[in-house]
């Protein structure tokens, strides 16, 4: 099975190279023959990747410990489901999975767009196939998933070897969020290639009308959606599974995924300027190339561990491969952007500084400023070590100090920006539209501060969030009222039909509302509280308005792990809310200890209980108690984000299009 897989990997290497050559020839000739060969190379690579993934899954399923990857990431007693999902548990499988998703994406894009943009297709195929070729190089030469375990025998001969059992899957990965988080995140990363491929193709062929943007709008939005959901799922997993009480630690891997999302968000906004006024063409191409660069860079950061120590770079040659590929991306993009600068001239000028176009400029500035701060902070340990010779750490305090004010300002722009009309806004209309939201924002700030919630940044966040929420709600309300003048719909129906007729705009407003919820959830962290309780059977602990009674401490065993479990009865304000079971587990195969957190979540706050061990006399359990306000608002914001983006993604024919009213 592995030989089939290895052979398929070699074929991918060859076919993608072949396809690139064919596409290059196909660019110059009049018939579509060579371009079609390139397209078929894309399809063949996808089929080959299915074979590769199929073989690897087969080996994982059968626990064939002859193979290093299988032995390193699974064990016999691992639940079957996790044996399969360990496909993306380690570097080799992860990269195969990336390449697999890339091949599927390439196929889908080529199939759906080849008739509409035949002149662009050869170049689009080259971009897809070059990236496929790069990943195939990694699979074949650096990070082989089908590598066999070898052992040097006493007589010096090297022989294949299979341990009796594998090392098992990292228990932290045995969780539902961790199952869907990598695939979704990778779909987001991989998706960044689509707008880039079309932008580069448009640059090379000088077809720089807004066609390439229209072609890729939904693909871009889809990649952005996957990336955003992937990030949020990662946060959810960190919160529920890692058990340190938070959901975002500004870890290099987290930052790596956030950066392309920020640049894609900037692109989604500034592209509207290009569509309406034919401006910002150079900037948009730069943003698209930057997003693709950051997605490859993010993959590299995640998979290579370069940032925890600069020495990891030298040890693994995967760093060299990625650096070269990243340099090629920068070089090719820069070359074509500079060469085509005359074709990218703006068609118009801005009518006024007080316009939606110019507010998008500030939106871009803030988003890219935040992206730079994250990139700078993530890479600074390496820079500092190179300059000063000793290691330093750049952790959460740095990122929070910089990004919290930036984030609040971005939130403010989210509320004010839509009030600017296209082209020019009168200060009259601006004042009128801002009046009520500002009053609401001030009232909320004053109320909260009277009630005792006086953290300055949190107050700012809550009050600006109120401003944004009111402006978004009034956009829906006013639009619906205007509709109601001509139809006899009730308000909910009017809002629904309004949204369906302007999916892009109102879907976007739903996403803005999602941002409001997210920021309110983030601001809740300013009021986190914690405590510790040491309890034996029957003992109680009180914290804030909670009472926690230890009913029973027990020891549990399953095929997968041993556990110490606390059965805790919890009540709030003397009303019982139920039983919670925090645990401390040791997984048999990996001998790795983990904690299973118990969470009781309401809209107001989360009660988060961690079983952190037994006391010295082994009679009592040490329970860490965390009260985290407003965490649910983050997850709800995530849900709204998905809904809003899906609305914007819906095809125009769905719903009520442009037929009536």
């Amino acid at each position: 099975m592995a030989t089939v897989g290895s052979f398929a990997l070699l074929c991918i290497l060859v076919f993608s190279a072949f396809g690139i050559v064919a596409a290059l020839i196909g660019c110059r000739e009049e018939t579509r023959r060579f371009a079609k060969i390139a397209q078929r190379a894309v399809y063949n690579c996808a089929a080959l990747y299915v074979i590769v993934v199929g073989s690897l899954l087969y080996l994982l399923w059968r626990s064939d410990f002859n193979y290093e990857y299988v032995a390193a990431h699974t064990n016999r007693d691992l639940p079957a489901f996790f044996k399969l999902t360990s496909l993306w548990a380690g570097q080799e499988g992860s990269l195969v999975f990336w390449g697999f998703l890339l091949s599927l994406y390439s196929t889908a894009v080529v199939v759906t767009t080849r008739k509409k943009f035949p002149e662009l297709m050869p170049y689009v195929s080259i971009v897809f196939l070059s990236t496929t070729f790069f990943f195939a190089l990694l699979h074949v030469f650096v990070s082989n998933p089908f590598k066999e375990l070898m052992m040097v025998q006493a007589n010096g001969s090297i022989v294949a070897f299979a341990p009796p059992d594998g090392q098992g899957l990292n228990p932290l990965l045995q969780h539902w969020a961790m199952i869907i988080h990598p695939p979704l995140l990778y779909l987001g990363y991989v998706g960044c290639i689509v707008p880039f491929a079309f932008a580069l193709a448009a640059l090379i062929t000088r077809r720089l009308s807004n066609d390439w943007i229209r072609a890729t709008r939904r693909w871009t939005l889809l990649a952005w959606l996957f990336l955003g959901v992937g990030i949020l799922l990662g946060a959810k997993w960190a919160y529920v599974e890692l058990g340190w009480g938070g959901y975002w630690g500004w870890d290099p891997v987290e930052n790596a995924s956030l950066m392309p999302w920020l640049t894609m968000t900037a692109f989604l906004h500034s592209v509207m300027i290009q569509e309406r006024k034919g401006m910002m063409k150079v900037w948009n191409v730069v943003l698209v190339a930057l997003s693709f660069f950051l997605s490859i860079f993010g993959t590299f950061l995640t998979r290579s561990g370069i940032v925890s120590s600069v020495h990891a770079f030298a040890q693994s040659s995967i760093g060299t491969y990625f650096s070269v590929f990243l340099a090629v991306i920068v070089g090719v993009s820069a070359y074509f952007i500079i060469r085509r600068l005359p074709d990218l001239k703006s068609e118009n000028k801005l009518d006024s500084i007080v316009s939606r176009e110019s507010s998008f400029l500030f939106n871009n500035l803030i988003l890219l400023g935040a992206c730079f701060a994250v990139l700078w902070g993530t890479m600074f340990p390496i820079i500092s070590e190179a300059v000063e010779g000793h290691k330093i750490t750049v952790g959460a305090p740095f990122f929070n100090r910089i990004n919290i004010p930036v984030g609040i300002f971005l939130l403010l722009l989210t509320g004010i920006g839509p009030l600017f009309a296209w082209r020019r806004t009168s200060s009259e209309s601006l004042r009128r539209n801002l009046l009520i939201p500002t009053i609401c924002a001030v009232v909320v700030a004053v109320l909260l501060s009277v009630l005792g919630y006086r953290d300055p940044y949190a107050l700012m966040a809550f009050s600006v969030a109120t401003l944004v929420a009111v402006t978004v709600a009034s956009e829906f309300y006013r639009g619906a009222r205007t509709r109601q003048k001509n139809t006899n719909e009730n308000l909910p129906m009017a809002i629904f039909r309004l949204t369906m007729k302007n999916k892009r705009r109102y879907g976007g407003y739903v996403v803005h509302m999602a941002i409001v919820f997210l920021f309110v959830g983030f601001a809740g962290a300013a009021f986190n509280a914690e405590s510790k309780a040491v309890l034996r059977d029957g003992e109680k602990a009180h914290f804030k308005h909670y009472t926690i009674t230890c009913e029973k401490l027990e020891d549990v065993e399953t095929p997968n792990y041993y556990a110490e479990k606390a059965n805790l009865r919890v009540s709030r304000d003397n009303r019982e809310i139920g039983l919670m079971y925090p645990e401390h587990r040791v997984y048999k195969a990996s001998e790795q200890p983990t904690t299973e957190v118990a969470i009781h979540s309401t809209a107001r706050e989360d009660l988060y209980l961690v079983y952190s061990g037994r006391s010295d006399d082994n009679q009592r359990a040490v329970i860490q108690i965390y009260v985290n306000p407003l965490v649910r608002w983050v997850w709800f914001g995530g849900l709204l984000f998905v809904i809003g983006t899906l609305i914007a993604l819906l095809p125009d024919r769905f719903g009520w299009g442009r037929t009536r009213g």
């Binding site: 500092s384 000063e388 305090p397 740095f398 004053v446 005792g452 914290f543 965390y626």
Partner: protein, 181 residues
Amino acid sequence: MASGLKARSLTAALCWIAVLLVAGAVTRQTQVVRAQSAKSDLTDPAQAARFIEITKALVCQCGCQQGLGECNHVGCSSAIPLRKEIEMKIRAGESDEAIIKAMVDRFGPVILAAPTGKGFDITAWVTPFIMIVVGLIAIYAFLRTQRKPRLGASQQPVAADPAYDEALRRVEGEIRMRKLQ
């Protein structure tokens, strides 16, 4: 809104805000949460708050890259002893600065969770803001290029183009026709 109504609403809103601000100042309500900490046995709220602040400023050395107060690796060989030590020092009355300095002396600057404000480290903090300022300047420069030329200059005489004139006449005629209908 009629401007009279607007002025009255605004005044009413401002009055309410003033009332609430005064009420807030008068009641001087303070946060009722007793600071405690989940990772130490400190019961005095001030000490617990200090513990949380100090551990936020330091990083666990076990390789998890998390704050000293956050690392929850079971049996962590770095976080657990270090937290105990910090707790002891707080009880002993040492100042925050002394505790942090002792940690830095032992482990080096790598134990600090964020770059200091001295020497090369200051570039960590300053560069993002410099970049944002650079971006603001770039936007300003761009906006200046967008200034429309003066009215006189834009009224360049259009080159005589009979096809254009004919089309213009036709359109104007149609507009007149529609207005009459």
